[in-house]
């Protein structure tokens, strides 16, 4: 399964902005077997980066222990309507994807 689209929502909270992002990714652990007994190759997101108006605020390294089609919530200090949030990921095969949202 190839990586699919991402979805993101950035909503103003009390003093912070809640950023919720969904990534379509199989997150294969390298331990799962197909019905014919073959191991499914390790394939997972390794890095997730959150940027606000072009400035990096969260940098993360993750493992195959994150669930399939990962969903993350992050909190950005303050935030104003129209601020641009960008989330990007990179997996162990060099595939990458990113999405943008403006605070609504």
């Amino acid at each position: 399964m190839a990586a699919g689209p991402m979805k993101m929502r950035a909503a103003l909270g009390a003093g912070y902005t809640d950023v919720r992002v969904l990534m379509s990714h199989p997150m294969e652990t390298g331990q799962r077997k197909t019905p014919d007994g073959k191991l499914v190759e390790l394939h997972f997101i390794q890095n997730v980066t959150v940027k606000v108006n072009g400035k990096t605020v969260v940098e993360s390294q993750i493992s195959q222990a994150i669930s399939r089609n990962p969903v993350f919530s992050f909190r950005v200090k303050g935030g104003a309507k129209g601020d641009k949030i960008e989330v990007a990921w990179l997996d162990n095969k060099g595939e990458t994807n990113s999405t943008e949202a403006t605070i609504a």
Binding site: T29, E59, Q61, I62, S63, I66, F72, F74, K77
Partner: protein, 153 residues
């Protein structure tokens, strides 16, 4: 003289190799760091050592919100908040997973030390949140019971 020549040759070799790698995999140049040693560790102690957090002080200022019993080990929602001033990073470890380290989140100016994520758990286990703040390490632990494991299939 010989030494200098050798250095020059070595440097040229390294540059050539880097170029070749760059041409084959342009994405590699963009790759952020990924602590392979910590993520390959098979027990939480080794993983923490690789992260430079071999010793950590227990802290009630780290809040782990997660179910006591997770029916499905493939998706265990966990929310971690650090109320420790100057928190720069949060690492999440699942003690009994084959590779305990699940993630490490570095927070820069502009982000709150908070993360919510879904974990895969192979069996019931302690989940640890290790917070790095001001050059010191703090830890909080929560036990999560899993009815159906989320690793095999």
């Amino acid at each position: 003289m010989h030494n200098r020549r050798r250095n020059l040759l070595q440097t040229a070799g390294i540059v050539a190799a880097a170029l070749a790698a760059g041409l084959l995999k342009p994405i590699a140049a963009l790759a952020a760091t990924w602590n392979k040693e910590a993520f390959s560790a098979k027990n939480p102690g080794d993983a923490l050592k690789s992260l430079g957090a071999a010793s950590a002080e227990a802290s009630s200022a780290i809040v782990i919100e997660a179910p006591h019993i997770a029916e499905n080990g493939a998706v265990v929602p966990v929310e971690i908040t650090s109320n420790i001033a100057g928190t720069t990073s949060i690492a999440v470890l699942i003690d009994k997973n084959p590779f305990p380290l699940a993630g490490k989140f570095d927070f820069m100016e502009g982000a709150l030390p908070f993360v919510k994520l879904n974990l895969k758990m192979s069996e019931s286990s302690d989940v640890r949140a290790v917070v790095m703040a001001g050059g010191r390490n703090y830890v909080a632990t929560k036990e999560i019971k899993v009815t159906i494991g989320g690793c095999g299939g």
